[in-house]
């Protein structure tokens, strides 16, 4: 129970996480980071996080939620997802992985990278470089 990959560091405190990426550990960023990374991996929208913060009596504005989500994403603490229209989601799992998307509920579920084998992809168009391959398995039912 000591092994950690580059992308899974459950033991880091919110403060350590912010310091590690060079984000100033302000009161609100610390509080939000604690909410986001306390539990296992999650997919949250700005509104979700805002409500959660309110429930925890954390006084933070919606604008700050957006700022923090974007800052965290820019620094690699989160990964932005946009699978269905209307609304972005942020994934606390920044490691390489894929998703199930439940069409009726809009819910997302992680799929471990090794569960999907992509044995061939086309070469990147000239001048371009592949930055990521995202697989979304849409399910109904």
């Amino acid at each position: 129970m000591a092994k950690q990959t580059k992308h899974t560091q459950p033991d880091l405190t919110a403060l350590e996480r912010l310091r590690a990426v060079g984000l100033r550990p302000t009161r609100q960023r610390l509080a939000l980071a604690r909410l986001l990374f306390a539990q296992g991996h999650r997919h949250v929208s700005a509104e979700d996080l805002f409500k959660e913060a309110m429930a925890h009596r954390i006084d933070v504005s919606l604008a700050t939620i957006y700022n923090a989500l974007h800052d965290f994403t820019a620094k690699g603490l989160l990964r932005a997802l946009s699978i269905d229209s209307m609304g972005s989601y942020f994934d606390t799992n920044t490691s390489e992985h894929h998703h199930f998307f439940f069409e009726h509920s809009g819910r997302l579920e992680d799929i471990r990278k090794d569960k999907v084998r992509i044995s061939s992809v086309p070469p990147a168009p000239k001048g371009a470089e592949i930055s990521r391959v995202d697989v979304v398995i849409r399910v109904k039912g």
Copy 2:
């Protein structure tokens, strides 16, 4: 030049397409279908199509553009895409295929199905059924 798959029927008129899926061929649906399916496969936003219609002196409201895009999608004439946040796109290619997504420009490019080989996917969660597997290859540069 006679072969056609279920999903590629370049010779159909707009009228035939609408009739085939049971949509009433109104003046505006016909005009929009002509714009959408005249040329090769495309990725258009509501705003794109609206501007294109205006350029062609087609008098249609933006609300109707949205209605038509959604109706066409529901009937399988289009496929909805949402890869980056802000803005949905509609793909005139409804056959099984994937996409390149150019991160800096936001442009999409189709990838033929056979160019991507997915040799294993996880089983659908119990009670669910896989409806589609979407692969997006994000490229930068």
